[in-house]
Amino acid sequence: MDTRILRVFLMLAAGLALPVVPALAEETSSVDETPVIDPNIVRLGLREADIDALDVEVGAFFGFMSVEDFGTNEVYGARLAWHVTEYLFIEGQYGMTSVGRTSAESLDPTLNLLTDADRDLVYYNASLGFNALPGEVFIGENAAFNTDIYFLLGAGTTEFANDRMFTINAGLGVRFIAYDWLAIHLTFQDLIFEKVAIIDPANSGDSAHNMQYTTSFTVFF
């Protein structure tokens, strides 16, 4: 029953609409009989948006960071890079570690130079990256992977020992392109920030070189 009502309704609607369409068509086509553009040609073209551009790289890293006077500990974090050209990229990094006890504290267990919360180290930085040496590695007879040896230079902030310190970061890395969308990095970085004043008050203005080596897995998209 419902469908019949619907059908009648549709027929009525179509009946009402039909006389209007030719009237409109008559009005518009009265000037020029031949259309300028043939509507039957389907233009395929090439739309750039159809090409997947993989210029952004995002991933996570883990490794070890040696913080001067506080030993070497696990470090982990995230990185985000944007590749401007085949040589140049911009990268942001966020990393965190938790440092151990100094040798003085190990010798005297009652000595606590920092609270547990102050032993957490967090840094972030922005760097310019240069893909200096592109290359290929071969695994066996049938597999070849593209690689890049790159340099990083940047600046940022480190939060550690109840202080915020300006940090210069310089590094060297190797990027293995496993797939077009996946890369594995091995990165060595030197994070240079002020020495912790409590450890060495006489030289508190001096800078400490804190080496970090990490492995990253990144995805291009």
Binding site: R43, L44, G45, L46, R47, E48, D50, I51, D52, A53, L54, D55, W82, H83, V84, T85, E86, L88, I90, A126, L128, N131, P134, G135, E136, A144, N146, A155, G156, T157, N162, D163, R164, M165, F166, I177, D180, A197, S204, G205, F220
Partner: protein, 246 residues
């Protein structure tokens, strides 16, 4: 019941397989005598294959200036943007790939960047986000921190910038605006509380177009911190940084 689910699954899978095959990559016709394919997206990678005039290649993806293509025979390689522009699209028109260049630099809308420098003896790091109303005028949001031995400060500011010659590769600009500064004295040196003050600033800078969507910028600002005490504090700020524009 299970059979029905199984059939539904099979149908769904076959549909997705069909749609995957249907979503073909755009293909272009080689117009030059030949098209060089390299093993990687860089000019150092060796050329390992050529595609002759009249042959078609599919464009799989791009990385910076390089396009990964697949030949009819299934061979995959990388082609530079300049070579890609000497191919024809399915309509027989030369393909046009938009590159971002100096012209786009002059007509940019958004800018995002980072900077570092000197804030009256303290080291400053920060970030910025800008929006251009016109080629000459933009509004800019800055967030930075100045790290020193005696105090750390956080600065937030909103500025108007004006560049008289937007079409220049090295484009100078004027900046003025206001904001707030939060100063945190280091507890180990002085026992005072954090304080927040209003600031006003004026200065000038230079944006230098480098390549693609990338520019360097250097800036000088004279900040005046409006304190409660009689004398206002004047602080000079010098920064260098880089930005990307969109």
């Amino acid at each position: 019941m299970f059979a029905r689910i199984l059939i539904a699954l099979v149908v769904a899978c076959s549909f997705s397989a069909v749609s995957a095959r249907a979503s073909e990559y755009p293909s272009v016709e080689v117009q030059d005598a030949f098209l060089d394919l390299r093993t990687g997206p860089g000019e150092g990678y060796p050329k390992v294959q050529i595609v002759e005039r009249g042959d078609f290649v599919e464009i799989l993806l791009s990385k910076t200036d390089w396009f990964k293509v697949r030949t009819r025979k299934g061979f995959e390689g990388w082609v530079h943007r300049d070579d890609m522009e000497r191919t024809l699209d399915p309509d027989g028109d030369k393909i046009r790939i938009s590159t971002v260049g100096e012209d786009e630099f002059a007509h940019r809308r958004w800018e995002a960047g980072v900077k570092m420098g000197d804030f009256e003896g303290n080291t400053m790091v920060g970030g910025l986000l800008g929006y251009y109303f016109t080629q000459n005028l933009s509004i800019e949001l800055n967030a930075s921190e100045a790290l020193g031995s005696f105090s750390d400060s956080q600065l937030y500011s909103l500025s108007i910038t004006h560049q008289p010659w937007p079409q220049w590769r090295c484009s100078p600009y004027f900046i003025m605006g206001g904001g707030a500064i939060k100063i945190q004295p280091e507890a180990k040196f002085v026992q005072t509380r954090d304080r927040t003050d209003q600031t006003v600033h004026a200065g000038l800078g230079m944006r230098v177009y480098i390549t693609r969507q990338f520019m360097f910028r250097g800036e000088y600002r004279s900040n005046v911190i409006l304190t409660d005490v009689d004398d206002n504090l004047e602080i000079e700020e010098w920064t260098l940084g880089f930005s990307a524009f969109f």
